[in-house]
Amino acid sequence: MIRTLGEGPPLCYDPGMPIIEVCNLAKHYRVYQKRAGKLASLSGLFRREYKQVRAVRDVSFQIERGEMVAFLGPNGAGKTTTLKLLSGLIYPTSGKATVLGFVPWQRDNAYRKRFSLVMGQKNQLWWDLPAQESFVLHREIYAIDHAQFQRRLDELTDLLEVRSLVRQPVRELSLGERMRMELIAALLHSPEVLFLDEPTIGLDVVSQRKVQGFLRHYQVEQQMTVILTSHYMKDVEALCRRAVIINEGEIKHDGPLAEIIDRFSSVKQIQLQFAGSEIPADIERFGRVVERIPPRVKLEVPRQEIPKVLAALLDQYTIEDVGVQERPLEEVIAELFVRKGSVAPDQGDS
């Protein structure tokens, strides 16, 4: 039996339905506004000013089983708040949501056994003990069969290359090693839904790649449904096909990641390497120069003018190497965030 979205007892989940359904979800906070100065501090004892922050505004989306979706947006856009709502950490101001048929903020144990939340800036392992001790506690909390636990632990520690570190106190691990341990703790009970909030924040490139590679492999193998928030576009490009762009608490775009560049970038980049050691002085008449390292140059040119510009360049100069590429996703997204409010709402076009 399938129940409609909203409050009430846990729903039975129909495998044909989306795993995550969110409908007009909103979360507003009241935040204290303190003025500078001693007098203001004194007056704050008697009368305080508050500001209403609309962290999430009428957000709606659906996610199918096995999807890996990126939540993109600048700091304070509402990404993490949405994840907190979906993992039941906080109650919404209004709106409805179900994950696996459960209303998250009812915090049903049956739901809590089926999802995980990993926050790159928060620790859930016991700081002074080896990670192994936290894993054993997880085994009991999630009632994982001992043989299955050992199998999964061996598999995960091998995949993340930390098998030799599980007996070392967590406080003595590097940030990258710690994050990999956090991932293991989050995955030991085989969650069907995984919320990842900045899982690679602060990690070096090697650790980032290890985590990315692991997540890609593991998600495909387990058919886990994953929502990922990250400021590292490399994470997003490596892992997700679908992206939800959220800004000022509202969804601005929901669709294939590849579509973002098509939709929001009207230019492409041409990379040229000239014969000799110089770049022609009049190169700027072909397009905007974004990088100049003689004899190489990178030009930004409107998409529709690419063939014409390329033909003219090849006709007029001796060029040793040429390449045309899309603008990096990072740049497009960053520009999108800067053009605050200029992105037309475009929900549910995936």
């Binding site: 906070y29 935040v31 993490t80 907190k84 993992s87 039941g88 950490l89 906080i90 109650y91 915090r107 144990n109 809590r112 056994k113 999802f115 995980s116 939340l117 926050m119 800036q121 928060k122 620790n123 859930q124 016991w126 002074d128 003990l129 001790e133 936290s134 054993v136 506690l137 009991e140 909390i141 999630y142 009632a143 106190p169």
Partner: protein
């Protein structure tokens, strides 16, 4: 073992391991806690001497020996009822978002904190047993007689009550952080008040009426006075039963208040800031 018991056992085991991670600091802190009792013994000695010959002077029905025995037993009671770091720890978890681990995992936060604290206390008793035994042996002549079995059982139960009431009061104060975030002033006020209201500073039966009658209606007396008074035979068996039942009633009331504060607090919790 049932799954629920296995979780409690595992929390207990892991917490013990955690507590023993900093062995040196912990052992030192445990031993240093005996210092106040030494000063208290000397202080009461000076007070009784100033009042008259210290071995015959009686103040409010307590001889100097009774007073030393009372102070030692209060120390034992406080070893059960004091919960260093519990309130501030809960408040910190709420403030910095660490509380999320209790909310996303299928565990009960209060249950988890309770067993965590039991583990801390067990380690403390193991380390402190020898110095405790030594101090009591040295001061054995201050105790009038060996209590009967009913009193001994009542004393054991009163210590359990001291632990539970101490835990529930301090966890309740920690949960206040859902509303006020910072609770250090509250902890300071509580420490001052409980030092007096629990009978840590003075035996509560020294206080004049009606202050004594009012204070005896509060749960704080179970933190120190009641366990000490039980072993000093201040209660007959019937009074002991009444005190224990009342204490158990306080456990239920405080437990319900904790549950209410947690449920209301979580509704209010905003987990802001990353």
């Amino acid at each position: 073992m049932s799954p629920a018991l296995r979780i409690k056992w595992c929390i207990l085991r892991t917490s013990i391991a955690e507590r023993l991670a900093y062995r040196g600091d912990f052992a030192f802190a445990t031993l240093v806690r005996f210092l106040p009792i030494v000063t208290q013994v000397f202080l009461w000695g000076a007070i009784y001497k100033a009042t008259g010959p210290s071995d015959t002077t009686v103040i409010n029905s307590y001889t100097y020996g009774d007073m030393v025995a009372y102070s030692l037993l209060v120390m034992v009671g406080r070893a059960f009822s004091s919960m260093p770091g519990l309130t501030t720890g809960i408040a910190r978890d709420i403030r910095d978002g660490t509380i999320k681990k209790f909310l996303i995992q299928p565990i009960d936060m209060l249950d988890y904190l309770f067993w965590h604290r039991v583990a801390h206390k067990l380690v403390y008793y193991v380390i402190a047993f020898v110095p405790f035994a030594l101090v009591f042996w040295l001061c054995r002549h201050y105790f009038r007689s060996w209590p009967d079995n009913v009193t001994l059982i009542g004393w054991g139960l009163s210590l359990v009550l001291a632990f539970m009431i101490g835990f529930l009061i301090e966890s309740l104060m920690g949960l206040v952080a859902f509303w006020f975030l910072e609770v250090s002033s509250l902890v300071f006020v509580y420490m001052l008040a409980s030092y007096f209201l629990s009978g840590h500073m003075l035996p509560l039966d020294w206080l004049p009426s009606p202050a004594c009658d009012i204070i005896r209606l509060l749960p704080f007396k179970y933190l120190a006075f009641v366990p000490a008074a039980v072993l000093l035979n201040k209660y007959d068996h019937q009074q002991l039963l009444v005190e224990l039942c009342l204490g158990f009633g306080w456990v239920i009331v405080l437990y319900l208040l904790n549950r209410l504060a947690l449920a209301r607090g979580l509704r209010r919790y905003s987990a802001y800031g990353g």
